[in-house]
């Protein structure tokens, strides 16, 4: 089953569209999909108010793919909690894309708003452009972030990437800003660009790699030597990396590992 959604025009107040999910669409007719309810501020509307819907065949969630043909940067929660199927967005997407997803895949051709892959449990979320804050992190107030799956970002990400990360993998092609991997307990983050500050703050497990250097290292990390071309899982890194352990600010025996190269540790 393939469903094509074409945005009808500019959207004012952001739309909450967790119904855009292969499971919800599976085995539904065009009319049923058009009639699915989305919230915009205090009012609700049928999906057809914002999208033209085209449906080819029907089938199970696993076989369902959703193609969003345009910019949906003012649509939130696309693919929220999805656990099968595929979503492709040929533009930019709003906040919470793939939040709490546990399976299936999402491809974003443009940029993604904040909270992409929040508390993700499994599956693949690929963002070819830039991402906002809180990628793969815990919800506000919660200490347990992404626990499984993969997030691949071609461009940059902002702050709090992988906050409370407990499992899974996040790869960033470009730079990140502040507090990447804050309170990380497990999982793996690799940033090919630079980070500003607060990397791994309060982490007590898992691994972070920053290839382009950190402007200001967190104070609770201890030097654990240098490695040339370390092999970390499937990642064969090139060049000399400083290895650090932390965060000693949170524990006497922390299990967090941080590799930094490029600009080194300033």
């Amino acid at each position: 089953m393939e469903v094509i959604l074409r945005p009808k025009g500019e959207i004012g107040i952001m739309v909450e569209a967790e119904v855009i999910n292969p499971e919800t669409f599976a085995c539904r007719s065009k009319e049923e999909i058009e009639g699915l309810v989305v919230w915009q501020g205090p009012t609700n509307h049928p999906l057809s108010e914002f999208f033209e819907v085209a449906v080819r065949e029907d089938g199970s969630p696993e076989e369902t793919s959703i193609l969003i043909d345009g910019d949906v940067s003012r649509v939130k929660h696309i693919g929220h909690s999805m656990n099968a199927g595929r979503i492709e967005i040929r533009g930019s997407v709003g906040m919470h894309v793939g939040s709490e997803m546990s399976g299936g895949s999402i491809l974003v051709k443009g940029n993604a708003g904040s909270w992409a892959g929040m508390e993700m449990k499994g599956g693949l979320l690929q963002i070819e452009g830039d991402a906002g804050d809180h990628v793969g992190s815990a919800y506000r107030g919660s200490w347990r972030g992404m626990s499984g799956g993969r997030i691949l970002i071609g461009g940059t990400a902002r702050s709090q990437l992988g906050g409370g990360l407990a499992g899974g993998e996040i790869v960033v092609g470009g730079d990140v800003e502040n507090f990447c991997g804050i309170r990380q307990a497990g999982g793996f983050i690799i940033v090919h660009g630079t980070a500003v500050r607060g990397v791994g703050a309060e982490m007590n497990g898992g691994m972070i790699v920053i290839c382009g250097g950190i402007r200001q290292l967190s104070p609770g990390f201890m030097d654990a030597g240098q490695e040339d071309g370390p092999v970390l899982g499937e990642n064969h890194l090139v060049g000399i990396f400083n290895k650090l352990l932390g965060d000693y600010a949170i524990s006497k025996n922390p299990k967090g590992v941080l590799y930094v190269s490029g600009g080194g540790v300033a």
Binding site: A138, Y139, R140, G141, S142, W143, I250
Partner: protein
């Protein structure tokens, strides 16, 4: 509003009238239960058909944390507790959110939907009384009141150290009037004051810093003040060393302090006739006994100390406990016991909030999740049930979760199912850590509570213990028209089918309050404003003048002005003051 209502043909459980499942009609007129209805009143009455169903007085919660700054601190620090538990607005009801610490509206609706009509906030710091009342004011449906935290109050500690019990009584009387408080709560007596210097007290005879008053002196003193004034409720005690292995001993010793003290209630309330004596017989109401019945000496040899504590409680008549059950899952620990919350923070490392309430008390808040995989939590689960099942006389027990400390009030039906069904307990043993079986006596307990006993521990005894059996907890003529109708047929009840028990208590067929149907199968169908009970004790005027001179002398240490200290009447909707100790014959030692 239909002026008259008949709840017809239900199996009625009304323990204060010793009615155990008799088929009876309940008549309500102008919001009150009446013996019968006549003529047009009977003909035009709204009739609720309760055939084949269980009928009980409306639920009463005598210990929950539902209003005030610590509850709100919990809401503020836990956005993650809210975003998945959302209640949509309807034509009749407000929206709301939250699981362990729901917003005030959701809280009121959720209690009412579960058959409860009356809930008392168990810890109101005087300085935060205005906030507490404003939250209660915004809570729909429920009748409420709040106990005032006084166990580490500077004036109380000073008076009790100096042996000035009359002045202490005058102070308590003035404070209850000033802040519209219902009773006296005593939290970690003498210990919370030490927490201001990062210390605590660890035995009943350890004097605290500066005031040099001991927990024993504070407990005995406040209990005497309570009976001098003749308050409807006895002292509500949160004992010392809460949450420490081996604390059952200090708990027993604290209960012993009250021996020889006579319960004495002196109010102007009209008491309808009930078959049993509905006035309280206890001089001490122990809060969340589970947290204060720990055995062992460390976390390594931790075990239940319930059997030891219960051995004492079974021998005496001056004690009522609420259990503070742990039904597993997320909770938010919040208490006036600042050091206890710090201990929990050191164990769990979670986010933690701490507050010093000036000259009065302290408080702490921390999220905590009780897990079946945790050995300690599994024993705590067993202990909460042991307390209810090993204490022989149900009139000494009250079922709570110390919401939201041990669990959430919406989990009460689960606790009821465990109390009523041995199979429910056995099935949980299979899921939780084996310490629950190895380190408690629960596996050997066969007792299954009857609906009659459940009516005692969820309604009748709450009302009796806190002294509101003049209108709650029974269905005598003159009582409030608060009734819960449950979809349970006692003649075919099978305790092995505990899912059905849980379902019935979660979503009663009807919740009736003041004769109005409030909720039907979990849906709120009408909303009204509840009453706010508080005590207004009287003392000798000269004594009060002397006491107020002391208050004035020390008031400079407060950050508020004296004029802004009292809770103004506008903070209460439907206030119901209860006149206590008039004519004045106490608070003056002869």
């Amino acid at each position: 509003m239909a002026a008259t209502t008949i709840i017809r043909n239900g199996y009625v459980f009304d323990p204060l009238n010793e009615i155990d499942g008799e088929i009876k009609d309940i008549f309500i007129k102008d919001g009150k239960v009446v013996a019968d209805l006549y003529g047009a009143e009977k003909r035009d009455a709204r009739v609720i058909d309760a055939s084949g169903k269980t009928v009980m007085p409306g639920g009463v919660d005598s210990h929950a944390h539902v209003a005030g700054t610590k509850v709100n601190a919990g809401r503020l620090m836990r956005p993650e507790d809210h975003y998945k538990f959302v209640r949509q607005k309807t034509a009749l009801t407000h929206s709301g959110s939250g699981y362990t610490i729901p917003s005030v509206y959701k809280q009121g609706y959720d209690y009412a939907a579960m058959g409860y009509t009356t809930v008392f906030e168990a810890a109101m710091p005087p300085l935060e009384a205005r906030h507490t009342h404003e939250e209660m004011r915004a809570t729909p449906i429920l009748d409420m009141g709040a106990y005032m935290v006084l166990g580490n109050n500077w004036f109380i500690m000073r008076y009790l150290r100096d042996g000035e019990i009359e002045k202490a009584a005058a102070y308590v009387a003035w404070m209850l009037r000033t802040h519209k408080g219902y009773g006296i709560k005593c939290v970690n007596p003498a210990g919370v004051e030490n927490w201001g210097w990062a210390q605590n007290v660890h035995s009943l005879d350890e004097p605290n810093i500066h005031f040099e008053v001991t927990p024993r002196e504070v407990i005995r003193g406040l209990a005497e003040v309570n009976e001098l004034l003749g308050l409807p409720i006895s002292l509500h005690l949160h004992a010392n060393n809460l949450g420490h292995p081996g604390n059952w001993e200090i708990t027993r010793d604290s209960l012993q302090i009250m021996e020889g003290l006579e319960p004495r209630t002196k109010t102007d309330l009209h008491w309808p006739e009930t078959k049993m004596d509905a006035s309280r017989r206890q001089t001490i109401y122990l809060a969340h006994a589970q947290f204060n019945s720990f055995g062992g000496t460390s976390w390594r040899d931790f075990c239940s100390g319930v059997e030891d504590l219960v051995h004492y409680i079974n021998q005496v008549d001056h004690v009522v406990i609420d259990n503070g059950a742990v039904p597993f899952g997320p909770g938010t620990a919040m208490t006036g016991d600042g050091p206890a919350i710090h201990d929990l923070y050191m164990l769990s490392g979670q986010k933690w909030s701490n507050s010093d309430i000036e000259m009065e008390c302290g408080s702490g808040v921390i999220p905590y999740t009780y897990m079946k995989s945790s050995p300690i939590n599994s024993v705590q689960w067993a202990m909460g049930l042991e307390l209810m099942l090993l204490i022989k006389d149900p009139w000494k027990t009250i079922m709570t979760t110390d919401h939201p400390n041990g669990g959430v009030f919406t989990q009460y039906p689960e606790v009821i199912a465990w109390l009523m069904s041995r199979k429910a307990r056995e099935d949980t043993f299979k899921e939780c850590h084996k310490w629950a079986q190895d380190r408690s006596s629960l596996p050997a307990v066969d007792r299954e509570m009857s609906l009659y006993e459940i009516a005692i521990v969820t309604r009748a005894n709450q009302a009796r213990t806190i002294g509101i059996a003049n209108r709650k907890g029974h269905l005598s003529a003159g009582a409030d028209g608060d009734v819960t109708v449950l979809d349970l047929n006692p003649t075919t009840l099978d305790s092995n089918d505990y899912a059905a028990i849980k379902r019935a208590f979660s979503r009663p067929e009807y919740t009736v309050k003041d004769g109005e149907v409030i909720a039907c199968k979990g849906e709120i169908v009408s909303v009204l404003d509840g009453n706010r009970f508080y005590c207004s004790p009287h003392v000798d005027e000269d004594l009060e003048t002397e006491m107020l001179a002391d208050v004035n002398e020390w008031f400079k240490y407060y950050t508020v002005g004296f004029a802004n200290y009292p809770v103004p009447g506008k903070c209460l909707k439907n206030p119901v003051p209860i006149s206590v100790n008039r004519p004045i014959d106490a608070a003056r030692r002869s």
